[in-house]
Symmetry: C2
Subunit: 179 residues, 2 copies
């Protein structure tokens, strides 16, 4: 199953802002619809964005235990704010070996450990799309209550200042709201 | 770019055998054509098989140095024999964390270390397809000269006896030859 994020006039989520954090921007959108489809989506330079919820690439067992103990699922009624953050990384990232990528991801950047303190306020689902031929490597979808948006912003400030982010070549920050 | 293996009457590679090592068999084929395509292939229960040459998931830096020093590329004129081995693994494999999968893959099964001694006689290219919605998780393509087929068989005997193979739920061994 693939998840497709489409720009449209009638989607469940209203776009409140689209910011190109780095790299080429994404076309404007009024609303975003989120759909699950069976067929691999064709690559597109802009909308729709598509990815696949896959197995974890870096998480180790003790980290997973902490994540599972703390994290919330998507779709909580109070989580009326969302962020969709498509990211592409440099070719140099993908040419590294697993141990090198893991070292930067966690030992140097504390991607998992640093994110844990924002759970369960911020719920998260990662979609992989590099192997689908899409222009981004990942799409991360976050959901939170309006009163936790400042915490979510702090999470992003931390990640964007980390050594891992030296490999980010394109990042779009799309904020959304639902009634 | 995606790589597609199609059963056809005019492909470059003649099929000499198709053996279902475990799980559901694959329909017979006379020849196989290998093509590179831009669009994500639609999943099919049999032929064609399709995957993507992606980044390495388990190899660490010292291992990569050994592989790069020893391995041969595809397309050597003397490598007139090939094997295409589609594999699917149990859901339990994919639900493990990265450290758990790596431990079984290398510490317990010596997947990389055990394969090194067959280089450069056996050339190899892995294609990932689980995230494309295909029925297999990987397709591995091997090329070797006829006089190295017995060594290749020994490589497979070792892998199939390893702890990693307890997670293999479907495996087809397709042997091919070209003029």
């Amino acid at each position: 199953m693939f998840t497709v994020f489409s720009a449209c006039d009638a989607g469940a989520w209203r776009v409140t802002s689209i910011t190109a954090v780095c790299g080429e921007p994404l076309p404007a959108a009024r609303r975003v619809a989120v759909d699950r489809v069976e067929a691999p989506p064709q690559p597109s330079p802009g909308w729709p964005l598509a990815g696949v919820a896959s197995h974890a690439r870096y998480v180790e067992r003790p980290e997973r235990a902490q994540l599972v103990a703390r994290q919330a699922g998507l779709g909580r009624p109070e989580a009326t704010r969302a962020a969709l953050i498509p990211i592409a990384k440099l070719r140099a990232w993908w040419e590294m070996t697993q141990d090198e990528r893991r070292r930067i991801f966690e030992a140097e950047s504390r991607h998992i450990a640093g994110s844990l303190k924002y759970l369960p306020a911020v719920a998260r689902q990662l979609y992989h799309c590099r192997d689908l031929g899409q222009p981004f490597d990942f799409l991360t979808w976050f959901e939170f209550a309006p009163e936790h948006e400042a915490e979510f912003d702090a999470l992003l400030v931390g990640l964007r200042a980390s050594p891992e982010w030296r490999f980010v070549t394109r990042e779009i920050d799309i904020r959304l709201s639902r009634a």
